[in-house]
Amino acid sequence: MINSPAELEQRRQEILSGRDAGKPRVSVCAGAGCLATGASEVISAFNAEIEKQGLTGEVRAKGTGCPGFCERGPVVVVDPQQACYLQVTPDDVPEIVAQTIKENKIVERLLYTDPTTKEKAVRESDIPFYKNQERNIIGNNIKIDPKSIDDYLALGGYSALAKALFQMSSEQVVEEVRKSGLRGRGGGGFPTGIKWDAARNAPGDTKYVIVNADEGDPGAFMDRAVLEGNPHSILEGLIIGAYAIGANEGYVYVRQEYPLALENVGIAIRQARENGFLGKNILGSGFDFDVKVHRGAGAFVCGEETALLLSLEGRPGEPRSRPPFPATKGLWGKPTNINNVETWANVPLIINRGADWFNQFGTAKSKGTKIFSLVGKIRNTGLVEVPMGVTLRDIIYKIGDGIPGDRKFKAVQTGGPAGGCIPEEHLDIPVDFDELIKAGAIMGSGGMIVMDQDTCMVDVARYFVNFLTQESCGKCSPCREGIKQMHRILTNITEGRGKDGDIELLEELAMSTGSASLCALGRSAPNPVLSTLRHFRQEYEAHIREKRCPAFSCKELVSYYIDPEKCEACLICFRKCTSEAIQGAKHRIHVIDQAKCNKCGTCFEVCPSRFGAVMRLSAEPVPGPLPDELRIIVRKKKAKNEQRETI
């Protein structure tokens, strides 16, 4: 139990003195992404190898929070060299232990190699993916074993709480947050200080603070990485917020699809209680606060504040009208302040380093850094944290290293199902709350999905609207019915049944749904449709008028065809076909039976690029198969060159 700020500092010194900075340490990312690629096997291999090579007690291997470079996971950092090894497998472990830990030599083959210059990068900070980031929040993840409060304390954890409780009045805390310009990271972008002030000033003795960790945007996982990787930073922010607002009870609302986040948050709460950061008389300040975890049971709409509150009360999460706002009438009718995970995680930084420090990052009206999940058709998938105001182009090309293969960039979708698609010509806008809105998208919670020439923009709109048909709560009719009708029309268009007037009807439905729905889910539901119509209207028209999908993505409008001139009868597509639709044999030109083809596209992908025989056709008739007798390939060997000839 820590009973005063002095004891907290003493505890920190004790932890630090027990740790020799010169001693080797192995940190393995144990975030969900790396675990899925085998991180726990890598950790076990390290422990076994450390024992085998007689280094027990000398080296510590630990699982840490996610450093963001998911594309190259499992990520391993070996200190004190700070060597950052990528895509490590258990087979690599003996070499790392023998070379780096014992001999202080770098294992070159596991380092990041620049694709153009072929230069190797030893440290994390030398890798372009990281070099162009400003990682105020997730930078510590790789240094922290999320299951150990000591790691957090060693980095100065809970010192912001001590400062707030002992050196600042609750009013000063709110004022500092207001001055910092912090805006809600969950999607709305509402100024956090103003929100806190409203809850602080609301009449009532019982108040609540809540962490909204119901991260539901498909393609966004930054909250998960912070919850899993550095749960104490969120708790510290929450306790400071509770003090500022005057709340003695709080909740962390975590979606149950994140089992590791639930586990780590649960452990963190227990440790915080044991150490005197939660409970009665926190750090001897006289302030009482405790927190409970609530598991979300799978409803995207519960990210909406009023729905989240009903869900906390044990009811279906159906939003209610605002006003009254949760700041005055929230959980059980009491003043309640809800902030997103990332918002809370910023609070200790602002209290510790001050609003002016925070202010130096960002643009005029969007301060600080923001974590984005950069995913889709991008080389470096992962989490990136950048100051607000960085351009989309820098994020996609400098950090993300552009589009894989020889494909062309088409659009980037930001903001999740409420967001929009931004085309090439707007890639130089600075990313902040207001500029993204001007471009027809939103910041949202920070999903950033990159799309290339093979992505159909009508299908993307249909995808998001389909998502929303499943996630609309169904309480209000403009949302329930409007989304359903938009989905029907978009499905018709992508399946070749589009007709004149569909675009106009979509626009009318977008108007009614967007302006009359009860909550933000419905009000923003038309955005994916409107933004794709705004920037890619010609794709809609091609689908409707020519029954053509320019991206060759809409199954009903695409056929696969093997060009007999190019087919080398190699049997690869024949073997890989998932519907036994390819007829062929050795020395027999392959033919796709159009009636059997399920258009899964496997043949197109597996056909060796030196042949390029499988073609995609849209709005073009598929040429009939060659007569049987013309399908035999006779190869004559002439010196080293094969020449083919069909009879």
Binding site: G216, P218, Q256, G601
Partner: protein
């Protein structure tokens, strides 16, 4: 049905009506579905009307009112997985198992579901079978994987 087990789940939440969702989640995790008898018991113990329990149990996606198969397949339909070809993986899995998302086959071998984002976007398309993640799938590898299950 193990009534005592359900009772102890309810007790662990102090029989609070506000814990309805947490209690249903625990039952779901334990039995992999919510049998009618369990809902009845929860209704009586929590003094929550059955109509509200029905609404809650059908509103949240985590709950199932039908028993699940031996192997639970979840296919991620997150945006990142979608643009990398998740629908094609789903279609192949549907063809092989003969069931649609939300269904269980008559042999109780597989239950199929889609999920909105498992948060492993770098690995997309992702399929989760019995809580094991399989990443970077293409239709034919997904088909191969399913053959391994009995």
């Amino acid at each position: 049905m193990d009534t005592a087990r359900i009772e102890s789940i309810i007790d662990s939440h102090d029989g609070e009506a506000s814990s309805l969702i947490q209690i249903l989640l625990d039952i779901q995790n334990e039995l992999h579905w919510l049998p009618a008898e369990a809902l009845q018991l929860v209704s009586e113990r929590l003094q929550v009307p059955m109509s509200r329990i029905q609404h809650t149990a059908t509103f949240y996606k985590a709950f199932s009112l039908v028993p699940k198969g031996r192997h639970e397949i979840n296919i991620c339909m997150g945006t990142a997985c979608h643009v990398r070809g998740a629908p094609r993986v789903l279609e192949v899995v549907q063809n092989i198992t003969g069931i649609q998302p939300g269904e269980t086959d008559p042999d109780m071998k597989f239950s199929l579901d889609t999920v909105n984002c498992l948060g492993c976007c770098a690995l997309g398309p992702v399929m989760e079978i019995d809580e094991q993640h399989l990443g970077k799938l293409v239709p034919d590898t997904a088909a191969e994987v399913l053959k391994k299950y009995e």
